[in-house]
Symmetry: C2
Subunit: 449 residues, 2 copies
């Protein structure tokens, strides 16, 4: 390369963000005049062993994007150059529009294995093409939100800040990850573009390099505190407790400076937090908070808080940003109906549920969720709420449902306390019955036939 090409993918290129077989199958459907409506269902088969629930995120965003895919002249020219596609087919692609329906769970809905996150009803060539894009988009946000919500739970109300930009898998993961983090309840992000685009407050302190570039730690602290009243100072560049003593001395010498927090980024965070807290309190700085970062995840945070570490906020990067214990889920997008006839692949040991579906969530006392029913789309239950909504109808976005996508964070906040207490624990489940997910009788009969 003489110069690297464009760093990113434009909206006009989304039609090519697909697996080759989608396009070859599309041409086959077109040649065979297979224009009947199909339903595809998006779900995952297995809960990652370390988890108790997943938070479905990105499915409304993905559906909205998929519904606006077009083949631009440039994209068609690329396809033409491959020598695999007839020119009449390419002419047809030029007119390709998504005209179908997409039913989705609301963003931020807790989900369990085999439950549909999204279903597409459309002429088969439309429903097939959008598979790869939808899966990629939902995979990212669901993986990240599901990990992040555990970290938020572990922090028990203390703010969690995303520090993951540098360790996440590329630009889209880092930027759109902030959308998932917002839904999961993070308090802020260090990622400027991510935070601006997805409306999460920006947060940042200072790096060790800033300290090292100055002749002394005190000089660096003084300069930064003068520039940024109410700042957070990073105290562990040389010796953490000595760093705190320098902050205290600085505030004694220049009482007009305001420091709101110190950050610990190495060492035994629990022990250091206690010692730092003692030093600060002794000097009358009860108000200065302690922020901790460095290799944190939900288990480390839970342990720190159980041990009573006086930490007021957590910066979390790598392990949340790549969902280290479970960096992928086995999302599937399966044909379940074609030309009005339910269809499934029969695989040994795998559940495949035929036909168009709806997901119902049952409520018990005080609005607590007590279990789910996976049912056929047209079923109704008196005591259960249908969760799939028609976000796209006849190719058009339902603006009411779209607007509700922005309320993902509030939805998660309200939903978590309604789940059984056991689901909110960090440890892997010991039994699979803590949240029952059953098939409706009608769906059971269909699946058995």
């Amino acid at each position: 390369m003489s110069e690297p090409g464009p760093v990113q993918v434009a909206d006009s290129e989304l039609a090519l963000l697909t697996d080759l077989y989608q396009l070859t199958m599309l041409q086959a459907y077109w040649k065979e005049a297979m224009t009947e409506r199909a339903t595809f269902s998006l779900f995952f088969r297995k809960m990652p062993s370390s988890r108790r629930f997943m938070l479905a995120c990105g499915q409304q965003y993905a559906a909205a994007l998929a519904s606006r895919i077009r083949f631009t002249p440039a994209a068609l020219e690329c396809l033409d150059g491959m020598g695999r596609f007839d020119s009449a087919f390419l002419d047809w692609l030029a007119e390709w529009r998504f005209t179908g329906d997409i039913w989705t769970l609301a963003e931020g809905t807790p989900v369990f294995p085999n439950e549909p996150l999204l279903e597409v009803d459309a002429p088969i060539a439309e429903a097939q093409l959008i598979e790869s894009l939808i899966m990629n988009l939902v995979q990212l946000e669901t993986v990240l939100a599901s990990k992040a919500v555990r970290i938020v739970l572990a922090a028990r109300g203390r703010p969690v800040i995303d520090f993951g930009l540098r360790r996440m898998h590329g630009i889209d993961a880092a930027v759109r990850g902030v959308r998932a983090y917002r839904a999961a309840g993070l308090a802020g992000t260090s990622n400027v573009l991510g935070g601006l685009r997805h409306d999460l407050p920006l947060s940042g302190t200072m790096a060790h390099s800033y300290i090292l570039a100055h002749d002394s730690e005190t000089e660096a602290f003084r300069a930064f505190a003068r520039h940024y009243p109410g700042t957070t100072l990073l105290v562990d560049t040389h010796d953490t407790l000595d760093g705190v003593r320098q902050v205290i001395a600085l505030l004694r010498d220049e009482p007009e400076l305001r420091v709101d927090a110190i950050r610990l980024d190495s060492g035994d965070l629990g022990e250091l937090a206690r010692d730092c807290r003692a030093l600060l309190d002794e000097a009358g700085h009860e108000r200065i908070k302690i922020v901790a970062s460095s290799g944190l995840d939900e288990f480390k945070i839970a342990r720190l808080l159980e041990e009573g570490a006086p930490i007021d906020a957590f910066g979390v990067g790598t392990r949340m940003g790549v969902s280290a214990d479970s960096p992928a889920i086995d999302l599937s997008y399966k044909l379940v109906e074609y030309a009005g006839i339910p269809r499934v692949k029969h695989s040994t040991g795998k559940v495949n549920l035929p036909g168009r579906k709806q997901l119902f969530r049952r409520q018990g006392d005080a609005g607590h969720y007590i279990g789910d029913v996976i049912a056929r789309r047209d079923e109704m239950f008196d005591d259960a709420e249908p969760l799939l909504v028609p976000l796209v109808r006849g190719g058009k976005l339902n603006t009411t449902h779209m607007a509700a996508a922005d309320q993902a964070r509030e939805r998660v906040e309200q939903t978590l306390p309604r789940l059984p207490e056991g689901l909110r624990r960090l440890e892997p489940p010991t039994s699979s019955t803590e949240y029952p997910v059953v098939l409706s009788e009608t769906l059971q009969r269909l699946a058995a036939s």
Copy 2:
């Protein structure tokens, strides 16, 4: 949201793809008139426990992008809206240009802990700003290429195809991932945009949905084989061996059809491959190849081949696409020199190497690599090759080095056989001495001082 915003990040937004503290530190450096040159070094501290070497990728791409960062009026307006930045500072940012040097390893260089992948020498405000972007870009490609090369090694010359688009972390990971896969030696990708953009052959077969949408498997096979002479047919939708028998029957009934391969995507791949091979051979189709996919990684591929499974090509998705055993590496970008004075953070148990550096690779007999020396930048060794090259000088890309970035694949192919045989094994290393990495005496003295 009424409509989702732009799916991706434009070149003009790269300046905001940074951590907030980079910008606040920048303003601090600007206010303090700290304009001296700094050197930052990019390296990782620890080899992931399952690995024996990493393949440095993305560092030349990242350096090239970083050197063209500009603050557009739109970006400056965003920053202005945050209320944290002085207007005189924003005026200065409007003129911000990268004017420094960036030394990098060639794309596709095997690397070991503490070795510099990249060093930036520039006025501190320039070197600091580009940290987050460089780390994000190098993290992705290095993680993916390092995983992919193991899978290529495990496949012992059989083609490996990327099927990961749907499971990778977002759009950038999937598309730029193909760049890393190309360097690592993959034979193809199913990802259309990724393959087109990064020049890796496209490959694709058919999905179960195509089979299920037809009235019978045979009908689906017939239609697809007619459309695509020489295609690959997916035989496991219902019963794999029955699927193969249908392919054989179809070719007997319509001998003019040409099928080049069948694909197995579930079940015991080794056993099925042997049984399918026997059926095909018996029917005189020795020429039809067997492609396997479904949850593969380097260990499963190695086991299949050890057991003699007659598989001719592998489609690999999730576990390669998220680098499941090690989805992140602990990349660091550390200030090592400022104003001509070597600097480091002294942390217990962590190695931090001060000053500008060069990495030397020693050759033994027949061009075999026998170990590395991390040295000061200005050192020279008779028997060792310096690996860091000045890709960017005075803010300008060196076009010769940039052109060489495209030869990453050839470089990896030529380099791997020159590494000690032990490094090419899949199992974790049993000793740390199989490839010695030492510090030069000069660097040792500096680090100890």
